[in-house]
Amino acid sequence: VYQSGLSSDLRSHNADRKARGLRSIHRNVWFLGLTSLLTDMSSEMVVAVLPVYALYFLHVTPATFGVIDGLQQGGASLVKLIAGFATDRTRRYKTIAASGYGASLVSRLGLVLAGPSAVWLTPLVALDRIGKGIRTAPRDAIISLSVERAALGTAFGVHRTLDTIGALLGPLLGFAILLQIRDGYDVVFVISVALAAIAVAVLVTFVRSPAAPALDTPAEPLEIPRDARFTRVAASAALLGLATVSDSFVYLSIQRLLEFPIEYLPLLYVATPGVYLSLATPVGRIADRFGSARVVIAGYLAMLALYVILGSGMPPMVVGVIAVILLGVFYAATDGVFAALASAVVPAERRAAGLAAVSTANDVGRMFASVMFGWLWSSGATADALQHFQIGLVVALCVVGILLWPMLRKESGSGQS
């Protein structure tokens, strides 16, 4: 849902180039946008019903769900780096992108064909994430090669907007289905297959593989910067990721606290992005003013507050509302802003690889976090698991405070000027 990486760079681009209008946007961008809208709808409706399906319907243990959720968090990231490299080497953008979308389609088909089977769930989720990891880089490459450099911001803006619309519609659709049809997980999966299949058809039929870039811009070798400041940022990303409870587990904790019917769980997958989207721009402005390192820390303090709130004895309804808002604040304060922070320490020629490395570090951290949370939950209660993560996040914040201290200090100077 949350586009990290290049988005903050593109946001400024976007503003500059809005004047050029949408008509200059290449048809590839629209069709890829449509592909992403349908794919995100298809994938987010499954993601939103997956916790309920896995835990309450299939009765997998929380530890197993932790592994599945970990794959959701980090699976794509691991493949993305390799796929990006392969894309640049082979330049078969459309073929690679289509195989990525196709892998996710096959994974959904598997969910339908496997029926209510806990055994197949983990490999199928893994396949979906592999597909996601494969398609991101070639898709972005097609977009960037299909438009002039000047229209790049608008093009990505259009694509990400369509993508986000799909991500919001998906959980709503999943929720509507579960509300209408009791245990209608099969219906969710069937509709998800139909959407994913149409998405692949749009890509295959309408998107043209762009001409490979001229020889004077050879593909950059995947070289990760070795600057000390960069290492500090990447280490911080990994550490903080390790202490971050995934959305699914936060929602499950809220559900267990409020004891609302599980059919309503997918709605939380819409509520948080809602808060996030409305806060992203103002928080971005705050970050520009006070420095991105501080805003990132503030975002994780919001996460810490979320853990505390979930464990507090306050009325469940209040806890639920505050928790959703805090999670939205967390994403607004960390998602694009972490990329901005990383951008500041990575030289321009290695920006892409650097940003990818930072987001991968964070995703891998989050992957292990989910596995750990599930494991802790299996051997105790959600409240115990949350308590462990609370301690973990405090420790991580202290270490990160030291790691990022130069940036936190320096920004105080620039903030006054």
Partner: protein, 346 residues
Amino acid sequence: VSNRVRVAMFWAFVAVCVVGAIVYVRWRINVTDGPVGITVPLYDPADPEVVAMVNDMRAKPHLLFQSASAYGRVGVVTLDNLVDQKIMDTLECERSHFGKDGGLCLVLNRESMQPRAFAYFLDNQFQPLGRLDLAGLPIRARVAADGRHAASTVFVTGENYASEDFTTRTTLYDLPARKAIVDLERFTVERDGKPFSSIDFNFWGVTFRRDSNRFLATLGTGGKRFLVEGDIARRHFRVIADDVECPSLSPDERHVVFKRQRVRAQGWQLWAMNLETRETWAISEDQQDIDDQVEWLDDTRVLYGMVLGSGLPEQALGLWATRIDPAAGKNREFFLRSAWSPAVIR
């Protein structure tokens, strides 16, 4: 391929996807018949008219079962008129069983995580009188015919008996007092007159004798299944036969019908044993999807829930009857649609 053909193929493909999805959704809504999927009228067990009706039905030999069409709610039907069944708006049970004066309904709280499962004690009008926590996924419930004792079994780990790595917990209850008495894991076991013990003992498939103090059950250990006879007062088991799983004792206490599963086979086969001669014979086809513990309809026939064919449980799951007479061979007869967990009250 020309561009036009490609676009036409695209739209044809989209049409196939959309129509396919719509057909599936319509079929799915149709088979569950309406939003919540309950296809049968539900009777309020607290309604005085319903109480009178149920009392009339209970005056005759009757069958209590769980309705698959109503997600495990309890149904009543007299044995002389199987068409006229009444589904009560009770708790949704995973497993249930009844004696003369009420029974046990094992509930899995789907609004929460496992192991939030409960054993509810139900009175004669299916009203819950109290509940106790269960430690896992409910799989067996049994009530002695005289209603003094009851037993529940849950999977503490693992999800089915087919896998080797499962652990169960079976608890005995004093039904009138609505209290747990003891877990079977605490009983001592003797085999061929010598003490028998191992860390991996699992017990399930309790079936009570008429005196209600003694009962038969399965002891699973090291991949083997034994038929054991337990004594509640002595907290003691005696191994009485090998290769017997999930026994059920006939009302005249002369026969046991039990399940057998061949290694790596899908499903089970029903066997009968003459307790006097220890002779055993198969009474059903092999590899049947029989999860239930069987219930005796009379001294010659057993009833059990079985999934046959595919589709949703409310259609594929039904009660079947099988004669135990060795001369009848492997046989079965359809008994009641959309039902499981039968309890025959004579």
